[in-house]
């Protein structure tokens, strides 16, 4: 079975985000970019399934500018077998991403698509769900555990108030949550091999997808700064304030 893992190039999670002076977006010039952390978890899970003999091939795909090749190379250095870059300089919204991924999935015919539950730049949390609907495949979102069986998968989901375990038929789309695994470092032998692994280049037009935005960003602004706290003298005062001022008790 083949596993398809979409990965996104985003601003590194360590970078302190700055909003552009004109409010049109966030500053991306000279900012460190990395693989979306949830996608790293997806790559890791796919590799573990392959190492356990449950999958034969791990294919990674990224949609974005030419620089997204670096992100794909990182996934290849982690151990993925092959990469597809769907190159575009446009800002691609979740629906367009899902449509392109549908095209990639139809060409690649994976048995499973593992995708991060969201990207840490726009936090949309839409692509996996839209992709599953477009393909007409089952979905298991926010996975903290994935067990593959014959023609089906058991997915443990992180839901409000606990865990929910569902069984989905394959092929399926699974979106990953933070506690699924801890991604590995790229190993030195794999770093050396990454450049030699195949990387196909495509364009959104190859999949007949129009990436023109459906949404319009009106304004981007920084979250307001945290207000100074107050010191309380006793536990009793703390409880009192939690009741009367914070309203949480």
């Amino acid at each position: 079975m083949k596993i398809l893992v979409p990965v996104k190039r985003v601003v590194d999670y360590n970078v302190k985000i700055r909003v552009k002076a004109d409010g049109s977006g966030v500053e991306l010039a000279n900012v460190k970019m990395s693989m979306n952390p949830f996608d790293e978890i997806s790559v890791e899970e796919a590799l573990r399934l392959k190492e356990a003999g449950k999958a034969a091939e791990v294919v990674v795909v990224s949609i974005g500018p030419a620089k997204a090749e670096e992100t794909l190379r990182t996934a290849l250095a982690m151990g993925a077998d092959r990469a597809v870059l769907v190159e575009t300089d446009d800002a691609v919204e979740p629906l367009a991403v899902a449509k392109i991924l549908k095209g990639v999935a139809e060409a690649e015919k994976p048995g499973l698509i593992i995708v991060g539950k969201q990207a840490i730049d726009d936090d949309s949390n839409q692509t996996g769900q839209m992709l599953s609907a477009l393909l007409g495949w089952a979905q298991g979102t926010f996975a903290s555990k994935i067990e593959l069986g014959e023609g089906k998968a058991k997915v443990t989901r992180e839901v409000d108030g606990g865990l929910q375990t569902i069984e989905v038929k394959l092929p399926a789309v699974v979106t990953t949550d933070l506690r699924l695994n801890e991604p590995r470092y790229a190993s030195l032998p794999n770093i050396m091999k990454a450049k030699k692994k195949p990387l196909d280049k495509k364009s959104p037009a190859d999949f007949g997808v129009d990436t023109a935005p459906r949404l319009k960003v009106l304004k981007t602004e920084e979250p307001s700064g945290r207000k100074a706290g107050v010191k309380v003298k006793s536990v009793a005062e703390l409880v009192e304030k939690l009741k009367t001022e914070a309203g949480v008790l």
């Binding site: 670096e70 190379r73 990182t74 250095a77 790229a186 190993s187 030195l188 032998p189 794999n190 050396m192």
Partner: protein, 386 residues
């Protein structure tokens, strides 16, 4: 001319940096406080390093290494320089001098060292023989096919975790135009060899937890088969490899300086006095400008030294320049970073004081700044007959 890293080099940098941030940083405060690295922690770091194929990456592939060229390996060292040496020492980089092993020694020392089954240390310095290596007193007397060794070595880095030590020992004397000089032979000495003892050394102001040790030889008998390279050729053997450790010191200094700079930069932007960030004052901002200029200069000098080695070009002088400049740059950068932090920079709650203390030894070990300047000027003047 191309200053860009290759994709592989960039991934090596990213991986090592991420390793240092995740596996080293969280343990630094504890090591600093106790001056001690729990053995399990050291083994864990070594295990993870092996797992990702970086252990012994400075060695050629035919002996089990990754065959990194000097430039790539210097980048590895630079990124490791960000972390505490007491911990990064477990990110195995055995001494390159082990490539001088013969077939028999290869099985017993070289291959296990590259695999990470055995740790090595290297011993040259003595209480009365620092820069003057050929003035050493530790002496081996021939006895049949064996050698009887007596003497003391000190400042021997991380010998506490070593399974064997590469020791430089006088085996004779020769007359030179500058007086009598010792002939030196390099020996492989196993921990536990009768008459050989490894003891804790002194408490150093720099690199707490990264131990220096004292080695004593008391009628220690070593068979000739323990000789690394040839009899009386130890000094030449060492000189063939010592440039590499100098480059390592330069590279780690650059890495650490960048970490220090990140602290100074963000503090200058965030700390407000008189209603504005202190970085808005030229007195602070110009410090930052000078710091980054020097760091970049040291970085380029270091990488060009590595590049020269890769090209097979003469590099002794250039590497000495990188070593002296990078280590003195680190001293200035750590000092200015504390100045930017003010009093808070001196407190144990922040790592600034540690960086400042750690920087001090870099100008001393692996050839003092004065020795580096001697190497540089000799290289310039000797061809002119001066």
């Amino acid at each position: 001319m191309n200053f860009a890293l290759t994709d592989e080099q960039q991934m090596i940098v990213d991986t090592v940096r991420s390793f240092v941030e995740t596996e080293i940083y969280p343990h630094e405060n504890e090591v600093e406080r106790t001056g001690f690295v729990p053995p399990e922690l050291g083994q864990e770091i070594a295990r993870k390093c092996k797992e990702i194929g970086f252990f012994g990456c400075n060695f050629p592939e035919e002996v089990g290494g990754a065959g990194l060229d000097h430039t790539s390996f210097t980048l590895v060292e630079r990124e490791l320089g960000r972390g505490s040496m007491a911990l990064t020492v477990f990110f195995g980089r055995p001494s390159g001098i082990l490539m001088g092993c013969n077939d028999e020694q290869r099985e017993k020392y070289l291959l296990p060292a590259v695999r990470g089954d055995k740790f090595d240390a290297l011993a040259m310095t003595e209480p009365d023989a620092g820069s003057d290596v050929r003035g050493m007193k530790c002496f081996a007397k021939k006895d049949g096919d064996d050698w009887i060794v007596n003497g003391t070595k000190h400042f021997i880095s991380h010998a506490n975790i070593a399974d064997f030590v590469i020791v430089f020992i006088a085996t004779g004397e020769e007359q030179t135009p500058r007086g009598p000089k010792k002939l030196i032979t390099s020996f492989l000495v196993d921990r536990g060899t009768p008459g050989f003892e490894i003891r804790d050394g002194y408490n150093s102001v720099s690199h707490r937890g990264y131990k220096n040790c004292i080695l004593t030889f008391d009628d220690c008998r070593l068979p000739s088969s323990q000789i690394l390279g040839e009899v009386h050729r130890g000094f030449e053997l060492a000189n063939d490899w010592l440039y590499a450790t100098r480059l390592t010191v330069a590279a780690t200094s650059v890495g650490r300086a960048r970490r220090v700079f990140d602290y100074a930069l963000s503090y200058a932007a965030e700390r407000k006095q008189f209603g504005k960030p202190i970085g808005a004052n030229q007195g602070v901002s110009f410090k930052l400008a000078d710091m980054i200029t020097e760091i970049d200069a040291a970085d380029l000098l270091t990488l060009s030294g590595a590049w020269r080695l890769d090209q097979g070009l003469p590099s002794n002088r250039e590497i000495a320049s990188a070593k002296v400049y990078a280590t003195e740059m680190l001293a200035r950068v750590t000092d200015e970073a504390i100045q930017i932090y003010g009093g808070m920079g001196l407190m144990d709650d922040l790592p600034l004081a540690r960086f400042w203390r750690d920087a001090r030894v870099e100008r001393i070990w692996d050839g003092t700044s004065e020795i580096q300047r001697h190497i540089i000027s000799r290289d310039l003047l000797r061809p002119l007959g001066a």
